[in-house]
Every structure is written in C-alpha cells, then in structure tokens.
C-alpha cells in the first residue's frame, strides 16, 4: 500500500508564515488532510528572564514580545504592576496611554491588512497601509525616540509628558485617517476576487471560539461580543464612546471587516482622548512607586490580537518571583489545525493570515 498523501513542510522559512511558524501539512493533491503547527523557533525565555530583572527593566522586554504592538504590551505589563502596587495613575497619563495604545492598534491592524492582502496576492494595499503606519511610527518617534520598540510607559505613568506637537500630529492623523481606510476598502471590500478568496474560508462557530479560547477580532468576527475595553474597562476606557463591531460567519472576510471597522473605532477613541486630554497642572506624569508588596495579580487588556494578560507573582522583592504571559497569538493559533483541515493549500495561507500571529509573542 503506497502513501496517498504528501507531507509538505510549510516554513519556518516561508514567505507567508509571518515569521518562523512551521506547519507540517499532509496534502492530498491540494487538499489539506492534516496540519500540525510547530512553534518555538523564536523562543527567548522571556518569562524566565523576567525573574532576574527588576520590574522596571522588564518593561523593555515586553516591547519585544509583540513587536507590532509594543505599546500594548508595555501597557498590559505596567497595568499589572500597578495593580500589584495598588496605585492610581494621573488622569492625564491614562488618557495619553489610551491614545497611544489605540494608535498602536491602528498601526498593528494596518500592518496586518497589508501583509494579509499580500498573502492573497494583492500587492498594492501593503504599500498604502504602510504609508499610514509610517505616520503613527513618526508620532511615536517624536515622543519616545523609538519607533518599533518605544518603551514609553512606566509603572505609575509615562516616561515623559507629551507636548502640544503630539496633540497636533495626532489630530492631523485622525482627521485624514477615515478617508485612507476608504481607499483600502475600495481596493478590497467589494472586490469579487477578494470575496471569493475570503468568504466561507476558515469559518469559526461561536462555540469553537469559546472552547479554543480565541479572543480579539477573531472571536468578534464569529459574533461574540467580547471586548475587554467594554466588559472590564481599564485606564478610563469607560470615558470614551466607541462601538464594538461583530461579525456573523467568523470567516476570513469577517475577520477582515472586523479589523477595518476596529481601525475606524480606534481612530475615534484616539480623537476623543486627545480632545479631552486633561491639562497638565505641573505635577509629574508618573505616580510615585513605593516598595513592591508580596502577592499575585493578573491583568489583561484588549491588545490588537486579543486578550493579552500578565500574571505576576511577587514575593516582595525587586523582581517578580514568577511572571507569566497570556499571549493572544498563541491561544488563537491553537485553532489553526482544526480550521485548515479539508481546505485547500491556498486557504492555509489565508487562515494563517486571518489569525494575525506574531511569532515573537507565540514563542516568547
């Protein structure tokens, strides 16, 4: 009896596995019989490293977790530490943080949009999306000096206060951003080939998402109205008016629409945060940090990819006794094997793109 299927090694060096994901595919012709994701090529021992560095030093490591959303990782980490300390962050700092992470969400989604479209053969959206991402990177660079890894947040507040040029640049960005999203939508949303490639591909049911633990835009695409910014508001999110878009079918097209709509909502939040930014009264932008108490905390935020949580065990020392990350990419990736089974090889690429993984976050 001869083997009827061929084993195809997709990755770790492959143009569309978004980093170093390796997928072992069993193919029957072009149809995927089985798929086994293999991860760990980018493991850097983040959680162990964190035990040997102080709370403040760890912040720099969080940038390198999800390098497409460094601000969000900073944010989740400092929120967890602040929860441990039990301190209140100045309102102005809270608003700036919200503006920054929402800008980061837009930047992350833009990069996703470009690479995902490129995976499906459309070259041009990548370059358009990177243009706008560049504006956000410039805003980050102006305030923190860093573009990809700003390390701008601090336990208790921010590294520095922002000035009026930040407000001006951000307003300029939000003013024009909606029309830019229209351009991307023009290229893709109603494009018949785009619809052919994404509709009914990688369909997820609500139950499947909940059982697998999928969160973020993927879960919302399947129709689950679950967004930590609404359900467990942190850092003054309750002050802002924004909608949570949800889809119906949970296919690749819905995931695409979710992220497009989220970008528009995020732009609204940024605008509100910048408009309502409390005036600086001369007091420092960072709350005073005292001795770290012993205890355990978990805090999670809605990162661009889903629920990003930090679990910290403290024994009262300068470093965490144990630090554990709940990376959304890692959890979302678990459903992949199930989703690609029975689909075609081309759909595997679409589904990997839909998950929006960052391997640095998956492997830590």
């Amino acid at each position: 009896m001869t083997k009827k299927t061929i084993t195809l090694n997709l990755g770790p060096q492959h143009p569309s596995t978004h980093g170093v994901l390796r997928v072992l595919l069993e193919l029957d012709g072009e149809i995927v019989v089985d798929a086994k994701p293999d991860i760990g090529f980018l493991h850097r021992g983040f959680e162990k490293l964190a035990e040997h560095r102080t709370y403040r030093q760890n912040l720099v490591l969080t940038d390198r977790l999800d390098y497409l959303a460094a601000m969000s990782n900073n944010f989740a980490y400092v929120l967890a530490v602040e929860k441990l300390l039990g301190i209140e962050v100045p309102k102005r700092a809270q608003y700036i943080r919200v503006a920054l992470v929402e800008l980061q969400r837009i930047a992350s989604h833009l990069f996703w949009l470009g690479t995902h479209a490129h995976d499906l053969g459309a070259m041009t959206p990548l370059f358009y999306a990177l243009c706008e991402r560049e504006d956000i990177m410039d805003i980050f660079e102006a305030i923190s000096g860093g573009r990809l890894t700003p390390s701008f947040m601090r336990c208790g507040g921010l590294a520095a206060d922002v000035d009026s040029s930040f407000v001006k640049n951000t307003k300029k960005f939000t003013d024009t951003f909606s029309s830019k999203v229209d351009v991307y939508e023009n290229l893709l949303t109603e494009n018949p080939i785009w619809k052919l490639r994404t509709r009914n591909v990688g369909k997820m049911s609500k139950e499947f998402c909940i059982n697998t633990g999928i969160s973020g835009p993927m879960a919302r695409a399947a129709g689950i109205e679950w967004d930590l910014r609404k359900s467990n508001p942190y850092s003054s999110y309750e002050d802002f008016d924004f909608a949570i878009p949800t889809g119906l079918q949970g296919d690749v097209y819905d995931c695409y629409m979710m992220r497009i709509k989220e970008m528009r909502e995020s732009a609204k939040i940024v605008r509100q945060a910048v408009d309502g930014l409390p005036e600086s009264d001369g007091s420092p932008i960072k709350a005073k940090v005292n001795k770290f108490p012993a205890g355990e905390v978990y805090h999670s935020i809605e990162s661009p990819r889903g629920e990003l949580g930090f679990y910290i065990v403290s024994d009262g020392g300068k470093s965490p006794a144990r630090l554990r990350v709940r990376p959304p990419s890692f959890v979302n990736l678990q459903g992949m094997g199930e989703l690609v089974r029975g689909q075609l090889l081309s759909d595997v690429v679409a589904i990997i793109g839909m998950i929006d993984i960052v391997l640095a976050e998956v492997d830590r």
Binding site: A122, F127, C131, R197, L344, V349
Partner: protein, 317 residues
C-alpha cells in the same frame, strides 16, 4: 539566392534584437509602473531614470552561481528553461510589427502560434518535475492544468476572429481590420481572449504556478543564475507576445492615423502591457479550484457561444 538568405538572416537577427530589447525594458517598465501604483519610486539608480537597470540585472544573473540541486534530473532540469525560452521566441517568427516588418508570413500563422506556444508548458512541467522539490512539483502540476484549461477557450476565441477575416495569416487579419477593429465586432471574444491570455502568461490574478505566498516560487524555486534568467526572459517575452497578439487580433495591428505603422504598433503593445501591470497592481490572486471553475464553467461555454453567434452572423449576412 545567397543574398536572399543573408537578408533573411539579417532580418531575423534585427527583429530578435528588437524583441529582446523590448522584453528587457518591459521588466523595467513593470517595476517602474508598479512603483508608481504603489506610492514608491521603483528602480531609478542605474542610469538616467533607471534606464540601464535591465542591463545590470542581466549582468548580475550571468555572474550568479549556477546551481543544479542534488537529486534533480539533470538533463530535464537544464532542458526545461531552454524549452520555455525557445517556445516563446519561436512564436515571434510569424508576428508582424508592421506591413513589411516580419520574418515570415505563413498562411497558417495562427495555427503555428497556438502549436508552438503550447510547447511552453513542457518547460514549466519538466522544471517542476525534475527539480525534485515538492513546491516546484506543485507549481508544475498547477501550470499544466491551468495552461491546458485556458488553451481551449483561447483558441475558440481566436476562431471568431478567423471567421471574420477568413484567413489564418496574421498580415491578412490585420489588413481586414482596416475599417473597424475586431474589438468592436468581437467584444465577448476579446474579453475571453484577455482572460485566457492572462492565465496563459501566468499573470496576476492567475499567477498560480509561481505564487510566492503559497509555493515560494513555484516551478522555478530551485533555479538560479541564467537558467532562472531564461525562465524570466521567457516569461516576459510571453507577456510581450500576448500584448502583440491582442494588438494584432483585436486592436487593428499597426493601423492608425498620422504616425508611422511601427509607432502605432508599439504604442498599442505597450498600452496593453501597461494594462497588464495595472491589473497586477489591483487584483488579489484567485484560488486554484476557482481558476478551474472559471475556465470550464464560465469561459469555455461563453467561448462556444461567441463562436456560434459569430458563425451564424457571418453566414446570414
């Protein structure tokens, strides 16, 4: 006698030099146009406006290490790019650029074109198979299925043109369009021909047997240096050929007011090439099964319909 032969050889050399120059500059044109579509510049460093870029690319390919992968079937591995290259270039033998600028005008030119251009699929298939690489093999299989599927409606669309012109000689076909271009008389045939020729030349949105996002580089994954170069030139020559054919069969060839015939021909050809690039910059890629569905369930029946309607009208009037 000898003078005739020498003249013919000179003609062949000149025309092929022109073709290869056009092909080289087609690559530059594609990169520059894509650049402008994508809010970037494209290659503009080598020479004024990047005009020497194709020469630099060619030289670079010559000096690359020429590798033959282990376990490849060496004979076919080397033969494959040669077939691809030769098949396309041979087609140009019957392609006229203007009223008298052609190598040969044979009475069965269209048949010859269809036959020789079909040979190209052997190059791709053999490349995919002989590389002993799964990605290459899948690219090769896709190519075979795609080329065979689209050759049939392509030929059927052309039969419409043949019925109208009553000749298989390309010069006659162009001359018979003096009053009105066949794009007006054969709009459906033109669209079918365009879709098929996009698929035949492996262009977006039908660039399935090379698509880098799934198959890395498809059938040419294992090729390097000038073996890759031959594929590359062959591919662009195929695009150039496709643009020439669209111009000759549907856009009235070299006919046009004021400007000389050659100028009109090249204006039309490069306009077609620009449209090819435009399409590439706009559309995502279709999936393999969707491509097959399109060919057998949509394009082929439409091609038959076009053929029957054309034949009926021709007989009735």
């Amino acid at each position: 006698m000898i003078v005739d032969i020498v003249l013919q050889i000179v003609k062949i050399i000149v025309i092929f030099a022109v073709i290869l120059t056009c092909v080289a500059y087609l690559t530059l044109m594609e990169r520059r146009c894509l650049g402008f579509f994508q809010v970037r510049l494209g290659p503009n460093r080598v020479g004024p406006w990047g005009l020497f870029q194709p020469i630099a690319d060619g030289l670079k390919l010559f000096f690359k290490e020429d590798m033959t992968v282990l376990h490849a079937n060496k004979f076919y591995f080397i033969l494959a790019p040669v077939i691809s290259f030769v098949a396309v270039l041979s087609c140009f033998a019957v392609v006229p650029f203007a009223g008298n600028a052609y190598i040969i005008d044979i009475p069965v030119a269209v048949l010859y074109l269809m036959a020789i251009s079909s040979m190209g699929v052997y190059g791709v298939l053999l490349a995919g198979w002989s590389s002993n690489n799964k990605y290459s093999a899948m690219g090769g299989y896709r190519a075979t299925a795609q080329m065979i599927s689209y050759e049939i409606p392509l030929a059927l669309a052309l039969v419409g043109v043949l019925i109208l012109s009553g000749s298989m000689s390309i010069v006659d076909i162009v001359n018979s369009q003096n009053g009105m271009w066949y794009i007006v008389k054969q709009p459906l045939g033109f669209i079918i021909f365009l879709i098929c020729i996009l698929a035949e030349t492996n262009r977006c949105p039908f660039d399935l047997y090379e698509c880098e996002n799934e198959l890395v580089a498809g059938y040419q994954t294992c090729y390097s240096s000038m073996k890759f170069g031959l594929f590359y030139i062959g591919e662009y020559a195929h695009i150039f050929l496709a643009c020439c054919l669209i111009t000759l069969f549907y856009l009235g060839g070299w006919n046009g007011p004021v400007l000389p015939a050659l100028a009109w021909f090249f204006i039309k050809v490069f306009f077609c090439a620009f449209c090819f690039i435009w399409i590439r910059a706009t559309y995502p890629r279709v999936r393999y099964d969707q491509l097959m569905n399109l060919s057998w369930k949509v394009v082929l029946p439409l091609a038959f319909l076009n053929l029957i309607v054309t034949a009926v009208i021709k007989v009735m009037f």
